[in-house]
């Protein structure tokens, strides 16, 4: 494959050929097919919302850095690499999932809300909530609060009845 042609196609990596590890000083490294080692690689999800577990892009550290390849399924990596990638993804994607809406108070246009998420309880303020909501599919809802944080309700229909009632008040 000529170098020019290479830029035109995506490179999908075999999970067995990718090793992610930490050096003794603690910095992250990724070795790809024994041909190159990426210093401080970034792991980006191609589809963080609709398909978060597949298609992980391995990139250089600088913003907009070169893509070294895509992993179709990073869970097939060896144990240590998988642990490190998972930790990296957890660190990069702060993506709380709402389990329950504990309370909601409405102050004409502002809503003060206590959410129980997979990252713990949190008090949030929503403003112009109808303009800051994304519907994915028929029942998934992403809401951004007044300070730009986003909360994911994976399945609004699966919430408990009390939470559903509160959600219906603001949407």
């Amino acid at each position: 494959m000529t170098p020019a042609k290479e830029a035109l196609t995506l490179r999908y990596l075999d999970p067995e050929q990718v090793k992610v590890y930490r050096t003794e000083e603690g910095s992250l490294r990724a070795t790809i097919a024994d041909e190159l080692t990426v210093l401080s690689p970034r792991f980006l999800r191609a589809c963080p919302l609709n398909d978060p577990d597949r298609y992980i892009s391995i990139r250089g550290p600088e913003p907009g850095g070169k893509e070294f390849g895509l992993l179709r399924n990073w869970r097939r990596l060896d144990r240590e690499s998988r642990r490190l990638v998972e930790a990296e993804l957890e660190r990069r994607y702060l993506h709380p999932r709402v389990k329950r809406i504990v309370s909601l108070k409405d102050y004409s246009g502002l809503q003060l809300c206590v959410l129980d998420t997979d990252r713990g309880m949190r008090e949030v303020t929503f403003r112009d909530v109808r303009d800051n909501v994304i519907y994915l599919g028929s029942s998934r809802v992403l809401i951004t609060d007044a300070e730009g944080n986003r909360y994911d309700i994976l399945d609004a229909n699966a919430l408990d009845p009390a939470s559903r009632k509160l959600l219906a008040k603001i949407l």
């Binding site: 035109l8 196609t9 995506l10 980006l44 999800r45 191609a46 589809c47 963080p48 919302l49 609709n50 398909d51 597949r54 298609y55 892009s57 990139r59 913003p63 907009g64 893509e67 895509l70 994304i134």
Partner: protein, 744 residues
Amino acid sequence: MPRPQLPDSIKRLIADQFPGADARLAAQSDLAPDGSYGEQWLVLAGERVLVSSADGAAARVLVDVPLAEISEVEIESLVGGAALRAVVNGRKVDLVAFTNALGDRFGRVRMQLDAAVKGKPIPEPEEKLKHCETCGLVLGEDTRVCPRCSRRGATLRRLLGYARPYRGRLILTGALMLSGTAFGLLPPYLTKLLLDKVLAPRSPADKAFAAEHGLALLGWLVLALGVSSILSTALQVWRNRITGWLGGRVSFDIRATLYEKLQWLSMRYYDRHPAGAIISRLTQDSGGVQDLLAFGLPFLVTNLITIVGVSAMIFVTNWRLAALAIVPAVAISMLTRRLWEKMRSAFHAFWYRWGRYHSLVNDALNRVKVIKAFSQQPTELARYGVRNTDLMNASVYAEQTWGTIFPVLWLLIGSGSLLVWYFGGVMSMRGTLTVGDLMMFLGYLGMLYGPLNFLTNVVQWVSRALTAADRIFEVLDAEFESEETKGDVVPDRIKGEVEFRNVVFGYEKHRPVLKDISFRAEPGHMLGLVGKSGVGKTTVINLICRFYDADEGEVLVDGVDLRNLSLREYRSRLGAVLQEPFLFAGTVAENIAYGKPTASLEEIMAAAKLANAHDFIVNKPDGYDEQVGEHGNRLSAGEKQRVCIARAILHNPAILILDEATANVDLETEEQIQEAIARLVEGRTTFAIAHRLSTLRNADSLLVLEDGKVVEFGTHEDLEAKKGVYHGLLDLHRKTSTITAVEG
């Protein structure tokens, strides 16, 4: 309107002066030779083109040109009209002038004469219906609805046609209405019994009965009153729930039909109707129709039933008194018929202003930036103020008219009960009418005046909703995209050979933009369209996309006339990257997959990679799930462009339209876009428009247009060597580029 026939006097005139020449073609103009409204006739008699002045004794031949000397027949566009001209031995000879009303007609006459000049048989082109067949009224653009001939009844019937699938529920509603009304009729009768048998008995028998059983009877009668009110309320609730469902469902159906229609309306329709006006048909008008179906019609029917039932009851009780009560009511309903018209025009005006208001706001919000940049807020406010005032005046007028008419009507209708009190009272005092009968009578009258009052109210409901329905039906009746020739040839594969053969086309038929264009693009080749703005480059593209059909000549794809090719099939093999990158609110992935909704993520990513878009997309926080915002506003111009290119790559069209894709981006981005375009173009027949000639350096051939005609056609090298129009443009371009370079 029937087409006028050549008058006998002119036939005789021709027979006298040119024996043996029979009229093969005749057309009447609506202007006299001096330009005033009048009449002239253009006649193709034998081998001569004649123009004769008005009918009558004074008729004479004004122009006489032998067909053989004419090389071309053309139309000169004037303001408010146009003139037909013949080129005779290189000289232009005016034949006849006409107003815009006859533009289409003479456009066809030009075609016919042209055919005669070329010795071909004279075609008889189909005339588009512009006038109502019944009354001759000029119809709206692209519609066959004649506002004079279409009757309210017909609109209503058509509207009810949408309820046909729900016949069962309709019948149930009718039954509920009847039974509900029947129960409603009981209370006044029970009141009468209460008065005459229990409370104020007159005859000795009644008095005796009341003394003995009065209390028990009272209990039973009150119980019956209670039960009948409860039953009547229950039936009413049941009925309301069903009609509510019916109204919602039927207007859902209408909206769905309307929206589907909008997808398939011709470009000509969209050229003529602003988006705001169309939006208000989908929102305001369909809402009006829903109101009518869910509330207006059921009320109308129940009230009519009540009126019939109540009238029967009171006429049976005492016909003289009934007549006294009914006469004023009938007079009022006659009056109502007059008011119907007044109200309708008031609300028509209101809805029209509402649509215009909507268009203005929509337009202004779309160019907020321009307004701010030119600090034109005061102008905008003034413009807005005018529209807003218009809207206010229309709404005030409509509401005030209604608000005045309504109470006065109520007063007049109620005046009947005064008559009943007086004459009924006299009868009762004379003993010809019991008190119970009088009270029952007044009870029924009360029930009658309500519905009668509503009948006057219903004028507003119905007229508003039927106007809305008319506007919706107007869209539904507008012609489908190129309906007359939908095309059914489904090719196995489109190779992408495109040929224009003597194509003539104008957005208005008598003002051709493309004048006899012929060229051929080989499959897989890139053809650049070059020329100053307004020469018809975009029009060529519009015809290739089949947004419009050629007026004359043919556009052929793989040798098949485009009009015969299945439109759906053809468009599925056509792709475009336009000057204004078009994205819709949704994710990046959805936007790329627009032309191929079944594409997998890997296909989408592969296309994005080829379009130099993969990297910037993955670096977005949400990657391919990133929301692009309305019109793609959350992406930069260069990003939008590349998303569009990725979309075209994934769509994999055989024929590709590129319209100046690299405007307003920086050099590096432009290079990336150029690179992406180069990959996209490969193997596809491509039509590219670019104002920067450098963009077209890769084109296999260039088509240079000037004033709607092809002036040069060849490769870049050929045309440069030729030192013609293209060379001139190139020179100009180089000069401006140098200036930019120096200044930059």
